[in-house]
Symmetry: C2
Subunit: 409 residues, 2 copies
């Protein structure tokens, strides 16, 4: 059963907004056994939207469109749907009542724009949206399905997963296995499992998904009765890759780190300068992280390094804030201050300004302190400011994992 | 001059990875005057890739593909390009020499996979990639251009902006103006400027781009000599929306907050519990934020709230950590502790666990303390954990801006 996703909006086509909606929709379809074979993005233009729907339906029985259902003039999806399905628009009283209620909550009267939003394509089944004013639209014609949802992410997710899921037939059998690694590149990992990869049957695919300091391997099996062979292959790869593997399945790196800490009843604290909260943010993306994450200090300014973490002014002057000495003291002092088993620290120049000849932009020290002492590492990054920050935070967690497991660099 | 972007990879089609590449490419094309009229995403499948190229070239003179150029078996873009352009592959010695050099740096010998990566479509101009092993490919036939770059974001950006930019002709004239607002929804804002919107000429478009607590208005003018009228329209909208506007042009919300602080020689510190570093991260996404951001304390555990921020145990027991009393004390104490002009604080239940009947998931207090006292605000959010964290951090910055400018809630 094949599906396609159409994203609508000029903001996506001029590159102003990252399209995370089609990612979520594709993942939702995949979990439900629908194979997404085409994604298309078009502008806020009726002809382009109709063209997009046509190209999607050419290869797919189920098409999901997102965006262009709002109240403003650039929202043209309903016009396009009327043109594609050759139907008119009709007043939808229920939507109007919802809009009136929402506006009452804000002590406001609905406007002309709100009124226009209540006309719907007459061939559509209107799906009430509990989280916003624009409802979803559902079309079913000649065994083909089209679902149109707003572009506001949480409204889109709400409509698909709670209101529309039972309207479409279940898809084909598909099985995924994920083997998640950190600390090595994809070529290195591919080389380690060349022989296993050579034995894969034609209906099982292996993909490498690299990201900062991580490579996720994804096995996908098409067709029924794949469970046993998928488990075997996953286990073969897992044991070959050894302690490069931080987890299997849908676990995130932060959750894997959290499980290691929780298992040992260990706690963690952080002292971050250049990452300024991003290490702590990553750790706390895992629900339940209050079991082990005690807290953090972000001594961004020189004076905060002294007042909050007792880094001596002499050390700061002698070595500079971006140095092995300072990052080591940061890790050790925050470990003591917060009374935690493990601590992480960062200090560096994220850029684009602040570099010197001796310490160019991208010079970043990280450290991990624990029961057996402190390890530090120098990173020399060449990315943009935000990527440098994100990379550093992940590298710090990779270092923590190595220290916790006693893996040598 | 029309362009199209083709993204290649199963990981995008099963929704495992967010496609930020096509966003960057679209923005890069747009800046260079190329109008992106179609985006397509396909799987790691030669036939699908060829189909994707065909659908792109149907509407565009310039096609950029990203992904599928790596060394592993799921990387099939080069096969597809050979099929599309009806050509074979040839050994590319320069790429081989680069691979050998890269491997030497890691003290490793190149593998069979590395060797295979050095065969290139013979009709392609090979563009050396200084940041990775897979080069870019450039095709020019019958006034049509195709550029193929790797999917690793920083390699892709490097190749397009530094190696390939001069190979394609300049595009058409296009002008954008951005008016960035915070604190109100898109319908409210659209209602405020209905009359201005009604006067727009047909070659100027207005779009509303809503995100958490923010709406960016984008004016786009097509054709030459649009500068003057675009400036006039932008100024009309700007003055109508008044202090909802935090900035014009490419400024981010964090940069706008930073400029307000810098202008007044003010400083800021943060005490974050449930946002656990994300407010500090947002503030420091702005380069040069060390001019005003002194630091933060993240007292995630109860005991850290007491030891690091002197929140009394009695207050914590009486009101709970998620309360107006505690968030107010957090803001006031961190302001004093870090000796800053302004401070922000957050305390709440980001979810999905930790909620109670009285304080369900999404109950989050934020506070801002400054020269004229402390203001606090209760948020009742219904999103997922990470969205709740992100929303709260932005809401805290919106509150800070209101306090700094003396805007009443």
């Amino acid at each position: 059963m094949k599906a396609a996703v159409l994203t609508i909006g000029d903001e996506l086509m001029i590159g102003q907004v990252v399209d995370s909606n089609s990612t979520w929709i594709a993942s939702w379809l995949d979990k439900n056994g629908w194979k997404v074979t085409r994604k298309i993005g078009v502008r806020d233009d009726v002809a382009h939207i109709v063209e997009g729907i046509t190209l999607c339906h050419e290869v797919a029985d189920l098409v999901i469109t997102t965006g262009g259902l709002g109240p403003t003039k650039d929202d043209l999806t309903k016009e396009a749907l009327c043109e594609y399905f050759e139907c008119g628009k009709v007043w939808h009283e229920e939507t109007w009542q919802r809009v009136v209620k929402i506006m009452e909550r804000f002590n406001r009267a609905p406007s002309e724009l709100h009124k226009q939003q209540c006309y719907m394509p007459e061939l559509a089944q209107v799906i009430p949206n509990d989280q916003g004013s624009a409802p979803g639209l559902f079309f079913h014609q000649d065994d083909k399905y089209l679902i149109s949802v707003p572009g506001v992410p949480h409204e889109m997710r709400h409509l698909l997963s709670e209101k529309i899921n039972h309207l479409i037939p279940a898809g084909d059998a598909v099985e995924h296995r994920f083997i998640r690694t950190c600390g090595e590149g994809e070529t290195f990992i591919a080389d380690m499992i060349t022989d296993i990869e050579a034995t894969l049957p034609s209906n099982i695919k292996l993909a490498y998904l690299p990201s900062f300091s991580q490579v996720t391997l994804r096995l996908t099996g098409y067709g029924p009765d794949q469970k046993a062979i998928m488990d075997t292959l996953s286990e073969q790869i897992n044991s070959r890759l050894g302690n490069l593997v931080y987890g299997l399945g849908n676990i995130t790196f932060s959750q894997a780190i959290g499980e290691l800490l929780r298992k040992n009843n260990h706690t963690i604290g952080v002292a971050e300068s250049c990452t300024a909260g991003y290490i702590s943010h990553l750790i706390t993306t895992a629900s339940g992280s209050s079991d082990y994450f005690i807290g953090a200090v972000i001594p961004y300014a020189y004076r905060a390094k002294t007042s909050e973490l007792e880094i001596s002014e002499q050390t700061l002057l002698k070595y500079g804030a971006v140095s092995q000495e300072v990052v080591t003291q940061m890790a050790e002092n925050v470990r003591q201050k917060l009374d935690v088993t493990w601590s992480l620290a960062s200090s560096g120049i994220a850029g684009p300004t602040g570099g010197t000849q001796e310490k160019p932009v991208g010079t970043i020290w990280i450290a991990c302190s624990g029961p057996d002492g402190t390890k530090s590492k120098l990173l020399r990054l060449t990315r943009d400011r935000i990527s440098n920050i994100e990379y550093t935070a992940i590298a710090a967690l990779v270092l923590l994992r190595k220290c916790m497991l006693g893996i040598e660099e």
